[in-house]
Symmetry: C2
Subunit: 425 residues, 2 copies
């Protein structure tokens, strides 16, 4: 009986794989619909396997709400309750965010395995075709590592388009989560509440290993209009070669204590300390990134790694900010939203991007950032379960779980937030 109920849930939602398959689940009728009252832990996983990082979003349920509770909640929230008397289960639980380095993909596989996700072998008791073990996955690695996941975990990666996922993830966050978007300038973070009706169009700039720039015109209406190969992979790759740092985070940390003026050639360096005021360039403007290395009789070892890291970060942030602004201008987009793991709520990165957008737009445009910046693709892939009945309400309940107007925790680490999902039956 127990097994049947779980499988019913699986069949209808096609939500991938479950944990703790021995846990109970009971059904009852509410308002003419059938409702699953449950305290089972159910985990739905989505992956974004990029060139440098694997981002994992998974949900673990640990409690079950009632239909009445859900209705009450929805009246406070911003998302509509779906029409009709549908049968569904509300699962309370946690949405978890994890990341792994792509080169250490076995760590990710081991983690998924260790979490006792119900996999291949479990289901084989009843079903010898492993095709039913489907996990939503996006990013190039969903193609590249498909065979590996199949072999090691018996999982079939259901590939969700990368741009679709980024946009779905960003739209979800911007519409459903309070205190999600913010501007950053002079060490000051200002949360921006965006009116849903005024959300589109905007430019989504996702800074992963490379950078994608996407004009978003509606819920599923978007176009990748530009990009640049000078992205997070460049910062980390070049930074690793230049500083011998072992990780992206170490490199970021290093840059924090650096001074880019040691290596960058400033306008003042060329103009003998003066501004080039006729064309609006202050003496402190960077004329040439790494340009000072040209004229000095120094080798790499003679520079402090901190200064190198800072120059590199500034060059790349500034460049992305500029190209993003030029694209926003091209399509008349006033809102530029930056996401992707490169940013990582790193103050100096955000500040440089903000300054670049401000500089090139003469103060007319502002860069915006997202609290969950690194997980757009993974969240978007997770949202793709919606097609199979999951997650409609999650966005609503996410809103409810976050304290209004408060500053919430950084979710870019291996973190989690309380929330609920609704699964139709």
């Amino acid at each position: 009986m127990h097994r049947d109920k779980i499988e019913l849930l699986l069949d209808r939602s096609e939500t991938g794989f479950l944990v703790n398959s021995t846990e109970k689940m009971e059904k009852q009728r509410v308002n003419g619909g059938e409702f699953n009252q449950c305290s089972d832990e159910v985990q739905h996983v989505a992956l974004d396997i990029g060139g440098s990082l694997i981002k994992v979003v998974y949900f673990s349920g640990n409690d079950c709400g009632s239909f009445e509770e859900q209705e009450t909640s929805s009246s406070k929230g911003r998302l509509d309750v779906p029409n009709g008397n549908q049968n569904y289960c509300v699962l309370k639980g946690k949405l978890h965010f994890m990341k792994f380095e792509t080169r250490k993909i076995n760590d990710c596989i081991e983690f998924l395995s260790s979490k006792k996700f119900r996999c291949h072998d479990d289901l084989h008791h009843e079903d010898h075709t492993s095709d039913s073990h489907i996990v939503k996955a996006t990013g190039g690695g969903a193609f590249r590592y498909a065979d590996l996941f199949k072999e090691k975990l018996g999982i079939t990666l259901d590939k969700v388009d990368e741009m679709d996922s980024l946009v779905a993830g960003a739209n979800f966050l911007l519409k459903a989560v309070k205190c999600e978007a913010f501007t950053y300038m002079d060490d000051k973070k200002d949360y921006v509440q965006i009116d849903h009706k005024d959300l589109y169009p905007y430019l989504l700039v996702n800074i992963g290993s490379g950078v994608s720039m996407i004009k978003v015109d509606g819920d599923s209406k978007f176009e990748r209009v530009s990009g640049t190969s000078v992205g997070g992979g460049t910062f980390w790759g070049l930074g690793k070669l230049l500083t011998k740092c072992k990780s992206f985070d170490e490199l970021l940390e290093l840059s924090h204590g650096g001074n880019n003026r040691v290596i960058d050639m400033l306008v003042g360096d060329i103009y003998g300390g003066s501004d080039y005021s006729k064309i609006g360039l202050a003496s402190t403007t960077i004329a040439s990134s790494f340009g000072k290395a040209v004229s000095e009789n120094k080798e790499l070892e003679d520079y402090r790694p901190e200064d190198v890291a800072r120059s590199l970060l500034r060059m790349i942030s500034n460049n992305i900010g500029q190209i993003a602004y030029l694209n926003a201008l091209r399509f008349g987009l006033k809102r530029i939203i930056f996401g992707g793991f490169f940013i990582r709520e790193h103050a100096y990165t955000m500040d440089t991007i903000s300054v670049a957008v401000n500089f090139w737009s003469n103060g007319e445009a502002k860069a915006m950032f997202l609290r969950h910046e690194g997980f757009l693709g993974a969240l978007g892939a997770f949202m793709n379960y919606k097609r199979e009945g999951l997650a409609d309400l999650m966005s609503h309940l996410l809103v409810e779980q976050l304290p209004k107007g408060s500053i919430v925790a950084d979710l870019n680490g291996n973190d989690s937030i309380h929330c609920s999902v609704r699964i139709s039956n």
Copy 2:
């Protein structure tokens, strides 16, 4: 008598300083005007002192034409003969192009000194104010090193605005010199003859240590609309740190034998060898410059310097091409002309810039290059003597001296071309 004539020339033209002041110069009347028939060697110098390089343009006269000759020439050429019966001297000679590294500025000073330019001490016989020793100079170094030139050579640098110079130099070349502009694609150089009436507007992209992007609307009508700090100084500076190359040319040469795919992360690397065809990215497109260095357990020493240099060149060329195109698009400019010493007629650089412009414009825009690309600023500063009567005719005679339709020598080295200048009396 002799001295008077030379000084008359100096006084009227204010062309800086002369060599071989003992040589003869005679005057005669032609067509109601006074004409200097002369075989004197006269040198007019202009400098462009940038962050990394000093570009020198100087004219050495060695023969003297007649007014009739000049009229005959002008009827073939494209520039109008100035109205009125003016007195002037036509000096045949050579226009020389030289470059020095800015950090070796003393080499430049020594060179100028060795050429026996008539300097401070010579003139002090008659004139104890050295203010009359004026040399046109542009670039930030014209400010930074003004005192040094004064002290070592007794020269006052007459500062010409950098953007003014670049535009004047480019306009001069585009209008007056045949076989100046060309496109470059697939190792093929195609000269472009631009109709003077259809020259404006265009985007001038000058790639020096940094990059300036200038919208040129007319002879002296322009605006610096953009730029980037990722320029020649970045290539050279970062390249020096990464490869230990001793010079820009060595680094360029090195890049020629490299393979960027060793270090760059391609779309195919992320997508398991596939294209990301939905958004038009081929598997060979660079997804992340230097991105492959992230996932490999290699240090800088484990990479071939050739490959590093190539990735760097490709990253920077591509980036400049993209930002240039976005700016051209912004102002509806169909013609993008690249200049500056970064290019140096280097096939791979031009090819990458061309491909970038072609890629981002979907084939609608083409990058154009200039044969004298590195000397725009210095030529522009030289043209500034025009205000004092020099160089009106030089542009005309430059045209005459170049064989029609032929491929002429690369002038980016320390080279010279035969030409003439006209000096009014």
